[in-house]
Amino acid sequence: MANYFNTLPLREKLNQLGVCDFMDSSEFLDGVNALKGKKLVIVGCGAQGLNQGLNLRDSGLDVSYTLRAAAIESKRDSWKNATENNFKVGTYEELIPTADVVINLTPDKQHTAVVSAIMPLMKEGATLSYSHGFNIVEEGTQIRKDLTVIMVAPKCPGSEVRAEYVRGFGVPTLIAVHPENDPQGKGLAQAKAYCVGTGGHKAGVLKSSFVAEVKSDLMGEQTILCGLLQTGSILSFDKMVEKGINAGYASKLVQYGVEVITEALKQGGITAMMDRLSNVAKIKAFEISEELKDIMRPLFQKHQDDIMSGEFSRIMMEDWANGDKNLLAWRAETGETAFEKTPAGDVKIGEQEYFDNYTLMVAFVRAGVELAFETMVDAGIKPESAYYESLHETPLIANTIARKKLFEMNRVISDTAEYGCYLFDQACKPLLSDFMKKVDTDLVGKNFNEGKDGAVDNRTLIEVNEAIRSHQVEQIGATLRKAMTAMKAIKTA
């Protein structure tokens, strides 16, 4: 199978990369009607599968689950999840032929196997739904021409998808219709109805394309979301220990710091995050993040280039074929870092202290978010997509680090994200070694303001504020955040 994106002429590449509309709530007035009375069969019953299914059924739709015969026979967790919530469960042979819509919610890596097993069983004119476009775009799977192919991707973990729905809200969702597979022109209507069924339409829906979703999603997760958070966390911890800061304190500061810092990012963008610092610290954080951007720009560009050319997925699929040799080695290596092995100390760190004593992370986050955003936009991805895949998701990933450090982050994200994260981390650490030599405990571990009188030059401060606020990610972010009316604040510290 050939990489789908690479088979396209440039015109069509640009065309599909550039799809991105924030949909108006009036687009969802038809509710779930396009799926009403249709048979929805979900493949897989993990966290996404189960929680989306519960929501869809509660919205009045007919939902059942299909699992591999082995999973049913041995009563695996996926079977229990489905049956204990009173869903009908059957094998592929039993349920796929009856399905009007087959919703594939299995892990990325299984897509080729799953899709080739179910496609021959699907009835004429049915719909196949994905939550990630890797299989279509990078692996180039060809879907039968009579079938409609859509994507509905809630941008949150499965448990949140359920929690927000029963609260009467939803989570931001990305939808797409594959232009090669929309023979009846019903794809968009069905994707919208699906969004209403999971509650996503209340929290903001972005109309994207398979291509734009994959190319931006891969870029975001490798660079800012997972890659840089991992590199920044490990370097910060090691620096503190090297400079004699208590290891338990350092561990706690790093583990919970990203979450506290990016909560401000979530509420009010980079501006709000930087505004949590004192004026002196803000100017310093601005300066070093500019420096970090210059150092890391070539690496961010290389990742984007490899994603666009298909080189990234080629080498990753090589590793899949090789029994995940690199992935497993890197995973083990991450589990062995000093940060991972040092438990968070039993010390109280106040909310503001996370900003004052961890100015370095604020700089890392600003540099990473802006660089990822700029690199994506330069490569032809729309600013709205780039915003979602950089700034919007950073706090979500930071939460996973707060839970159980990097190991947990890498466990929660997809294998694809994990592979890309390690790739980035391997290259980024040596790149930053000269920079890190200059870093002292005023930037990480101790209060930056200590021993300083807090005076700043007015004009410098005005220039710095202007540069932060006028960045495109801030402008697009302000618009999109306004649309996501009620974001729940995650309790921090």
Binding site: R57, D58, E84, R162, A163, G168, F169
Partner: protein, 491 residues
């Protein structure tokens, strides 16, 4: 003379620029066990939290453990609120979560929670079992925290406190959600503690209490006033109901059907455990029901089926508003016609919503408000806020308010859309007696024009007058279905 155990002088407390407690003084001597009662929101909770050193305060609070005692020299406070976290340290739960089964458990089990508590406080595990038995909790050790009802969470808090056996034990509304047998057993356990040397401070408005209570007080004009007994209960008066906001008269329900709810052999089970067994029950439009039964008898589960909160509704034969459940309706279409309040709904409600947002969210059946309600609904909300006397708290966050005020706001949320079916599961938890009487009168008034009512309350004396029928559950089975008026006339 020995120093008093607790000595409070010139204690002051303000809430939003209003003085709540003013130069309050209180001395608790050895051997004294106090009951503190009175209307909600007058500073009782803040006062005892200060004794437990949990909140900053103005004034002196001195604690002296000067008697030789084998009990731990600590003040233990059992809050009127419970909180727990998932395995990842977060507490982002929703009230329906315990009905949605997920194999990967998200919270600790009761057993491991108790073991952890025991280790932390160096407690002897052998002394735990009798407490579990007394409160009927042994069978819950394997349950996870998210699966517990609010009454069971309350028991877990009490079990920890009794197991700890501190020198000074403060209990803030400990009877909330407990059935009468559990209340009796709790009082016996507390008397045993006192025998062993524990001293009690109890905040409660109930007439039942441990027999070891020997001092009584209430808060009046910001000061502590000692009373001979639970004096406030004598002073209860029937306050005339101010007229209901006029929008309650504009009812627009669909034409009446033969039944609103019809359950035919309804069963709910988790694995081998049967929670509801062959329930047959029919509720006709306009009927007023009391639903009763001890803790764990299946009341909440039964109600969760009706409120479209339980996935096993899809495996049962039952009709809601004339439609077979699971025939293509969405849960929001069902919820639209129901006004619900329950302890769990309160517990998991968005604590960072304002009173106004909480009340308006009743129009949309959401936890927290996610849209602009528009002019008419705003007006209605303002009228209702005034009716409940919550004008001063309109923009206050729920978690800044005392429990009783939060409960009033949520009661406003429950009735604001003037629904055709009201489901009130222990609506008056956290309210004082005066508020309870007043609220039940309001329910009587609201239900005059054909509203259907299902009311859960552990005490006959606390039911609204309009109740005419009764269903009693025990161990998941219907024990009694009867017409109360008839039952009375037969005796």
């Amino acid at each position: 003379m020995k120093k008093p155990v607790v000595h409070i002088t010139n204690f002051n407390l303000k809430f939003q620029d209003k003085s709540v407690l003013k130069d309050l003084c209180w001395t608790i001597n050895i051997g004294e066990n106090w009951l503190l009662s009175g209307e909600s929101g007058n500073g009782k909770t803040s006062l005892v939290k200060a004794i437990a050193n949990l909140i900053p305060h103005y004034g002196t609070v001195k604690i002296n453990f000067n008697t030789p005692s084998h009990l731990p020299a600590v003040v233990h406070y059992v809050s009127n609120w419970y909180q727990f976290k998932d395995l990842e340290g977060q507490s982002n739960f929703y009230y329906q979560q315990r009905y949605n089964k997920q194999v990967a458990s998200t919270t600790n089990s009761v057993g491991s929670e108790l073991r952890h508590f025991g280790q932390q406080n160096h407690l002897n595990i052998d002394t735990l079992n009798p407490i579990l038995v007394a409160l009927g909790f042994e069978h819950l050790l394997a349950a996870t925290l998210i699966e517990l009802s609010s009454g069971e969470h309350k028991k877990l808090q009490l079990i920890k406190a009794i197991w700890l056996k501190p020198q000074l034990l403060i209990l803030d509304l400990p009877y909330n959600g407990l059935d009468s047998a559990s209340r009796r057993n709790l009082n016996l356990l507390l008397d045993d503690l006192v025998e062993d040397g524990t001293q009690l401070i109890l905040i409660s408005n109930e007439s039942e209490m441990p027999s070891s209570i020997n001092r009584f007080a209430k808060i009046e004009g910001g000061k502590l006033v000692e009373t001979a007994e639970m004096q406030h209960s004598i002073n209860l008066y029937t306050e005339a109901l101010i007229p209901l906001p006029s929008f309650f008269e504009e009812k627009q329900w669909p034409a009446s059907k033969s039944h609103l709810i019809k359950m035919i052999d309804v069963n709910v089970s988790y694995g081998d455990k049967k929670v509801l067994k062959n329930i047959n029950w029919e509720v006709k439009p306009g009927e007023k029901w009391a639903l009763q039964g001890p803790n764990g008898s299946g009341k909440s589960t039964l109600l969760s089926l009706i409120c479209a909160d339980h996935p096993q509704a899809f495996a049962n034969n039952f009709y809601l508003f004339g439609n077979l459940r699971g025939s293509g309706e969405s849960i929001w279409e069902i919820k639209e016609r129901i006004g619900l309040i329950s302890p769990e709904l309160h517990w998991y409600f968005d604590p960072t919503a304002t009173v106004w947002q909480s009340i308006v969210s009743g129009f949309y059946d959401s936890s927290g408000l996610f849209c602009d309600p528009g002019y008419t609904k705003r007006l209605q909300a303002d009228e209702l806020i005034h009716f409940f006397g919550l004008d001063d708290y309109k923009n206050t966050l729920m978690n800044q308010l005392p429990l009783g005020k939060q409960r009033l706001a949520l009661l406003g949320r429950t009735i604001i859309k003037n629904p055709e079916l009201l489901i009130l599961d222990e609506p008056c938890q956290g309210l004082d007696q005066q508020q309870t009487i007043h609220f039940n009168k309001l329910i009587d008034e609201l239900c005059k024009n054909g509203t259907t009512l299902i009311y859960v309350g552990h005490f006959e004396s606390q039911l609204p007058d309009c109740i005419e029928k009764r269903i009693v559950l025990e161990n998941g089975e219907v024990q009694v279905i009867e017409d109360i008026l008839e039952a009375v006339s037969h005796t």
